[in-house]
């Protein structure tokens, strides 16, 4: 499971970096969301991976997952969601004001 997860996170991050380096705003927005997903899974995995276990608490069960990364991921998801919404609006505004959807605004 560790290997699958690492490959998954790596692939997502690599794709996100590729998209981030594109010249137009829409792929950049997609790249940032994808990077957000990869980071969230990474954060989730940072508490260690457990299988066949209760999600939070169960008396008598030893191998419980770490709840803190779950809380962190939840916070990160909320923040990422808000930021993405803001970025989409900003990209639309830039498209309207600059008349171009390139990230450098298409010259002076």
């Amino acid at each position: 499971m560790e290997l699958t997860l690492s490959i998954l996170i790596g692939t997502m991050t690599a794709s996100a970096v590729y998209l981030l380096l594109r010249g137009r705003t829409f792929p950049v927005v997609l790249g940032l969301s994808l990077l957000g997903y990869a980071v969230n899974i990474f954060l989730f995995a940072s508490g260690g991976l457990t299988r066949n276990s209760a999600p939070l608490v169960e008396h008598g069960l030893k191998n419980l997952p770490d709840p803190l990364p779950q809380a962190l991921v939840l916070t990160a998801i909320v923040i990422g969601f808000g930021m993405t919404a803001f970025l989409v609006v900003l990209a639309l505004r830039a498209f309207r004001d600059l008349g171009d959807d390139r990230v450098d605004g298409g010259g002076e």
Binding site: V28, A45, S46, G47, L68, F86, A94, D97, L98, D104
Partner: protein
């Protein structure tokens, strides 16, 4: 429990909340609330400064949760000093804005308070994840503030600012994940203990996490090679926003200083002194690039934005020297450069307002209307920021070079800092003569600037003079703050005082 510690976060939060509820109804109410909140922050931060000056480290355990589990706010001398700086700068920028700049866009005061909330929170928090959260609060407020007023230049700069900082946030989270995976904690004091005790098998993970943190904070502090977003963003922002932004790079520097001493200090076991060797070269490089930027600027606000980068670079190179004396001089330098930097951004806006079409560009086209007054203010600001006697910039630079004298890299520090000082002086005199040194007919303008704006600008610029007069007391305080930062155990003990070890089966750990 000292609830006073919560106020720097609570006041802007409540003020912002009320403004959100009021909405667009009752024009002028938001100004009253915002100014009241900013005025209230000043005595609070002074009281906290007084508390911190005794050397006691105040810790606020929110909800009285035992330490490694709950959220803590920590106030030491460094945090108190930065809070004070933020409240002074915030108040002056706000007074400047209520003369009219807050009405060129919507929701200025709400965003301004949220930005103060994020800045104050970042200075107070004792937890790595909350540092991330407060960073996000101050960033999202800064995105919108930078964009305040709209326009092509602002949109273009905002896009870069937002995309780069969002990528930075993602890297911040990766760093947090790596550090959590290696140590199992994110409380800074707890982290200091755990990092020192980690075995070599976690070394690589910790090292990656620590250096990623350095990358993120360098992005916020606008160091080379990740700081090129700053000049266009600050140069295009509206004046009160740009003045407040003068402290944003210092938040990044603060975070580096905190991590460098507390978590990755010399006692940190496998990752001892992880960050320090990077800081000096990064700082020197930033100073060189920023100086070139200052020389190449054709517009006053762009020049000032490069000066902000220059001061961040100087701070980082000073921290890279790694001695308490150097840290102390860095704090004194930061106080001066933030106040004067903020004041100069306000002044550049006044000049642009008085100059009609030419705005703040460094050309001879258009004379300034009230040139004697603004010229005098520009002179004071230039002397303060370039480090000439008799203002505090001079004392700060001497202090800084003195603390660098025994370092093996002292030759480089002396050569680069002094050359950059000279070139900045050249650039500022050129800017001053292009803008002010012109006689000729001046047509009277329709909307002259208000007295409040001049007072706010002068107050920030004269802060440098006040710092020079109070140099003995200030450097005494900054030296004590640097020594307190050096004493890692005192911080750790103060924060972990109410620590409980929850054993299997115990249901309540609250004392």
């Amino acid at each position: 429990m000292n609830h006073l510690l919560l106020l720097p976060v609570l006041i802007p939060l409540v003020a912002g909340g009320i403004m959100l509820l009021i909405g667009q109804r009752g024009r002028g109410t938001d100004r009253v609330i915002s100014v009241a909140a900013a005025i209230a922050l000043l005595p609070v931060s002074l009281l906290l400064l007084q508390h911190a000056a005794t050397g006691e480290i105040l810790v606020y355990h929110s909800g009285n949760w035992p330490t490694p589990y709950g959220i803590v706010l920590v106030l030491d001398r460094l945090s108190a000093l930065m809070l004070c700086l933020a409240s002074i700068l915030g108040l002056a920028s706000l007074f400047y804005s209520i003369a009219g700049d807050d009405r060129i866009g919507r929701r200025f005061h709400l965003l301004f308070q949220m930005q103060l909330l994020g800045i104050n929170g970042a200075f107070l928090t004792g937890d790595l994840f909350n540092l991330f959260v407060f960073f996000e609060i101050l960033l999202i407020a800064s995105y919108a503030l930078q964009f305040h007023g709209g326009g092509r230049a602002r949109v273009r700069a905002a896009l870069h600012l937002v995309v780069l900082n969002l990528a930075g946030s993602a890297i911040f989270l990766i760093a947090i994940g790596a550090i959590y995976a290696a140590t199992g904690t994110l409380n800074l004091a707890d982290l200091a203990v755990k990092v020192a005790a980690t075995g070599t098998e976690q070394k690589l993970l910790l090292k990656a996490g620590g250096l990623l943190l350095l990358l993120v904070f360098s992005l916020k502090a606008a160091l080379v090679p990740v700081g090129f977003w700053l000049p266009p963003a600050y140069a295009s922002a509206s004046a009160p926003a740009a003045a407040l932004f003068a402290i944003m790079t210092k938040v990044g520097v603060y975070a580096i200083l905190r991590m460098q001493g507390l978590v990755f200090g010399p006692e940190a076991g496998p990752v001892a002194s992880l960050l320090t060797p990077w800081l000096l070269p990064l700082g020197l490089l930033t100073v060189v690039v920023a100086t070139l930027g200052v020389l190449a600027s054709r517009e006053l606000r762009r020049l000032l934005a490069h000066l902000v980068v220059l001061s961040a670079g100087t701070l980082i190179l000073t921290l890279g020297l790694g001695s308490p004396d150097a840290t102390s001089s860095a704090l004194y330098y930061a106080f001066n450069s933030t106040l004067v930097g903020g004041g100069l951004f306000l002044l550049a806006d006044l000049i642009a307002k008085e100059r009609g079409d030419a705005l703040a560009s460094l050309t001879l086209e258009q004379p300034v209307y009230r040139s004697v007054l603004l010229g005098c203010l520009f002179f004071i600001g230039a002397v303060g920021v370039a480090g000439l006697p008799p203002l505090a910039g001079f004392a700060a630079k001497i202090y800084l070079l003195q603390s660098a004298a025994t370092h093996p890299m002292a030759v480089w520090v002396f050569a680069i800092v002094l050359t950059s000082g000279l070139l900045v002086l050249v650039a500022l005199s050129r800017a001053g003569s292009a803008i002010f040194w012109r006689t000729g007919s001046v047509q009277k303008l329709e909307s002259p600037i208000s007295g409040l704006q001049i007072v706010a600008t002068a107050a920030l610029l004269l802060g440098s003079a006040a710092l020079m007069i109070g140099a003995g007391a200030t450097t005494g305080y900054t030296r004590a703050a640097a020594l307190q930062l050096d004493d890692r155990d005192a911080y750790v003990n103060a924060v972990l005082e109410n620590r409980v070890i929850v054993t299997a089966g115990s249901t309540s750990g609250v004392p």
